[in-house]
């Protein structure tokens, strides 16, 4: 495997460059996926049937905590990639671990939020509005969950194999994914929660 030393490690081989381009295209598809969910959400937002509306069930505190956790984790994954570029494996692993812990905490709060919805009578079966709300949040949450496992696998691989072109490439792609989830969350926060509570 040829490694081009003039480029950052994650871009070092031709395969690595293709992986990164491929992942960007995948993110393009993901944008369409979430765009479809948002479009459906705006269409069904007011179709609450006999169930509650957004204003009646949204709670600001858990949402703010979730936002804080996820934004911070986006920052720490950035630090991890920075450390990786400097070749500092320990620091990199540390920041990656922090990122995953923040992600886990986010997921915990989100689960609490879902239980809250269940208790106030907003379940998947209540109305078109609750169904699209929980599906949109759930799709994002499922992405985070998958990301946690993925990040954990990468962490283990870096520990076992060190910072190689392959592990660096995976870490970089993982960071793209994580930033993307953060951006999606910002949209969820603004256009679902804030708009719904106003």
């Amino acid at each position: 495997m040829k490694v081009d030393q003039s480029l950052p490690l994650e871009y070092g081989t031709e395969q690595n460059q293709m992986n990164i381009l491929g992942f960007w295209i995948f993110l393009g598809a993901e944008i369409m996926l979430f765009a479809t969910l948002f479009a459906s959400y705006f269409t069904l937002e007011h179709r609450i049937g006999s169930g509650p509306s957004g204003a009646e069930i949204f709670e600001i505190t858990p949402v703010l905590i979730e936002t804080f956790l996820l934004l911070t984790s986006s920052f720490t994954i950035g630090l991890a990639i920075h450390a990786m570029r400097l070749g500092r494996q320990k620091a990199m692993m540390g920041f990656l671990a922090v990122t995953l812990l923040l992600g886990l905490a986010f997921l915990g709060v989100e689960i609490y939020e879902f239980i809250h919805y269940y208790h106030v009578g907003a379940t998947l079966q209540t109305s078109a509005f609750t169904a699209i709300l929980l599906t949109t949040l759930g799709t994002h949450g499922a992405h985070v969950t998958l990301g946690l496992f993925w990040g954990l696998f990468i962490l283990i691989q870096i520990k076992k194999r060190g910072l190689t072109p392959a592990t660096a490439n995976k870490s970089f792609i993982f960071s793209l994914y994580w930033h993307f989830l953060d951006v999606v969350w910002i949209f969820i926060f603004s256009f679902i929660y804030l708009k719904g509570m106003m």
């Binding site: 491929g22 295209i25 179709r47 006999s50 169930g51 169904a131 496992f149």
Partner: protein, 648 residues
């Protein structure tokens, strides 16, 4: 016993029982046959675990042909049922199931794999690459598609077929009006195949953008590769919409949500919108590669370069953009009002402009050419007039006020068959005949090939032209019968005859494959058609590594200029060649997807959980696996090259 009740067919008939027996016997025959000839190892090593784009292409091709006959059998039954008024060959329920599966099978499981087959086989060769960017993912794409197709097809004998039309409009497709598991099959099987297609889209975009031979700029790419690039771009942006629509449909059916239901805020029109936001680009996903094939074929057999290369590329880009802006024309009659209809009417008719540019460019490619009418060229020449009929009726349908009269009638059915058959099916048959020698090392018989082309063209005209008239006479589509006084008898009888002639055409093609396999000469060289692009610069059939030496490109028609102007394609010395490893994981993972989907369809949750964990384990395995591929040593490359006809 109660557990097994759910797998029973809700509306059994002798034909279905006969098919069950036939399916079981065929499967036994396959297993016994493979065991008897001791081919299990061969099958596993060379096909089930392969990551070679050429073999994957051939597997796509075989699947597409199988599905063509499944969908074709549906079509014949439909036309036979309608051939006479008040016919009792099929009852309403069976007719509904058959036109639903006909639509789904032909679009998703026949046309899609057919274009995937050609793209897989041809694109890496045309750009001078050794494989696609992600060979392992490519295998996964194929197996996901294949398992999706198999899952959809077993609906016929296990649990019942979907019966709400290939568009599966809600609330008809919801639990309230479709109580059998049929529509679950629709939702899940298409979802699984769709994931495979999305992965292909990403894979080929990276392949084309990153793996072109040195010197091949974007504007030097062969037109088929250009069409593949645009097609995959549309796939990446259109398929996620389908993913979400199917997810919502699945949840409505299995988890009692209210996305598209009649009560609690459900909105049936949302499904129609989402379906067609994917569905209309899907039409162009099918037709653009077909246009690519025609561009290659017409240019090759006019012995001329493609006229207006730049405008051909530009028109495809414009079509791809417009394809996302026209979906409302599938339901002008939904009551959006005159303004919305006017906007979408104009965007729809606007697509005729870039399409027209392509037609004129093909005609101008023949101008001052030296036209040789081979089988692929014959398909292309038949395509132009037939597709023009289909295309101009499309413009007529685009006029929204008049569409109130065409919508939901046989006129519409005639239109889209006159577009898809000459557009896509003729192109696939042309492409199949054209690249066949590259795939298998012998040519298909020209005489039989041309006969099939003429018969298929005549069958198409005869089957679909009468529908324009019965449609204008008020025959709605999807009616399983009509009364004698309705006046549709003659037209439908002619359609039936046409369908039968079409079937004969396809039988001739099958016979041609058999005949040519037996009798065609094998010493045809690497360039039997005197063609122009890079895939003809390597041997037929193509060695594993495609090109012993990576070609260097200096012009648009690299191989033609190498032949005529003496450009040197292969400048470097032989080196060891890096190749990807085979892997059984894509096959296993897709098989798990099959089980996963089956569990979902019948709500057998333990099965879903177990197979879900299995799928996750496959992904984890991939994450931890170290896979650096292997090298073919120089000596072996030399040996192969000499065996195939001398080193280049």
């Amino acid at each position: 016993m109660e557990f097994f009740q759910r797998f029973a067919i809700p509306h059994p008939s002798p034909a279905i029982y006969a098919s069950m027996v036939a399916i079981v016997l065929t499967m036994i025959a396959i297993v016994v046959g493979v065991t008897y000839f001791k081919k299990w190892g061969y099958l596993w090593r060379e096909w089930l675990t392969t990551v070679d784009h050429k073999r994957i292409g051939i597997m796509y091709l075989i699947s597409a042909l199988l599905m063509l006959f499944r969908g074709g059998a549906d079509a014949i039954m439909m036309r036979a049922q309608l051939a006479a008024p008040e016919n009792t060959l099929l009852d309403a329920q069976h007719y509904n199931e058959i036109f639903t599966t006909h639509g789904v099978v032909m679009i998703i499981f026949m046309a899609m794999p057919f274009i995937m087959a050609l793209m897989n086989f041809v694109v890496p060769l045309q750009i001078g690459a050794r494989d696609v960017a992600f060979p392992r993912l490519n295998a996964l794409s194929f197996w996901l598609f294949f398992m999706g197709a198999m899952l959809f097809n077993i609906s016929f004998v296990v649990g019942g077929s979907p019966d709400a039309g290939w568009t599966s409009y809600f609330p008809l497709a919801g639990n309230e009006f479709s109580t059998s598991v049929g529509t679950n099959y629709y939702m899940i099987a298409i979802q699984i195949a769709g994931i495979g297609t999305l992965i292909t889209g990403i894979n080929f975009l990276v392949t084309i953008l990153k793996m072109r031979a040195p010197g091949m700029t974007l504007m030097r790419m062969p037109m088929f590769t250009w069409s593949a690039l645009i097609t995959n771009l549309i796939i990446v942006f259109a398929f996620p919409v389908l993913t979400i629509a199917l997810l919502m449909g699945t949840m409505d059916r299995l988890f009692g949500t209210h996305f598209f239901t009649l009560d609690n805020g459900g909105m049936d029109m949302l499904w129609a919108n989402l379906f067609w936001i994917w569905g209309h680009p899907e039409v162009y996903i099918l037709i653009l590669p077909a246009f690519g094939v025609y561009s290659e074929v017409i240019s090759t057999f006019s012995r001329r370069n493609l006229y207006g290369y730049t405008s051909m590329v530009a028109s495809m880009v414009v079509i791809s953009l417009l394809s996302f802006t026209v979906w409302v024309h599938h339901f002008f009659t939904m009551g959006q009002g005159a303004l919305t209809n006017s906007i979408f009417s104009i965007t729809t008719m606007a697509i005729a402009v870039p399409t027209g540019v392509k037609i004129f460019n093909w005609l101008l490619t023949m101008w001052r050419g030296k036209i040789v009418v081979t089988t692929p060229m014959l398909y292309s020449l038949l395509f132009i007039p037939l597709f023009t009929i289909g295309g101009v009726t499309g413009v007529m349908l685009g006029m929204s006020a008049a569409d109130y009269q065409y919508h939901n009638t046989m006129f519409l059915v005639a239109h889209f068959h006159m577009v898809i058959i000459p557009g896509v099916v003729f192109a696939m048959l042309a492409g199949l005949t054209y690249w066949w020698p590259k795939m298998f090392g012998f040519m298909l018989n020209e005489k039989l090939g041309k006969a099939a082309a003429w018969v298929i063209a005549a069958g198409t005209l005869l089957a679909f032209m009468p529908m324009f008239f019965t449609g204008l006479d008020g025959q709605a589509r999807r009616m399983y019968t009509y009364s004698e006084t309705a006046g549709y008898t003659t037209g439908n009888m002619i359609s039936f005859v046409g369908a039968a002639i079409l079937a004969i055409g396809f039988v001739i093609i099958v016979y041609n494959i058999y005949y040519s396999f037996r009798y065609a000469p094998r010493n045809i060289g690497s360039d039997p058609w005197d063609a122009r692009s890079l895939e003809w610069a390597t041997h037929s059939p193509v060695p594993d590594y495609n090109f012993a030496v990576t070609p260097q490109v200096e012009s648009r028609e690299a191989f033609w200029d190498a032949k005529k102007k003496g450009h040197v394609l292969f400048k470097e010395e032989l080196k060891k060649i890096h190749m990807p490893n085979s892997s059984g994981v894509p096959f296993i993972m897709s098989a798990l997807f099959f089980v996963f989907g089956f569990g979902f369809i019948f709500s057998i949750w333990p099965l879903v959980i177990i197979s879900g964990i299995g799928i996750f384990a496959c992904m984890a395995h991939r994450s931890f696996e170290k896979d650096d591929g292997f090298y073919i040593p120089v000596e072996e490359v030399k040996e192969t090259e000499e065996k195939l006809g001398g080193a280049k």
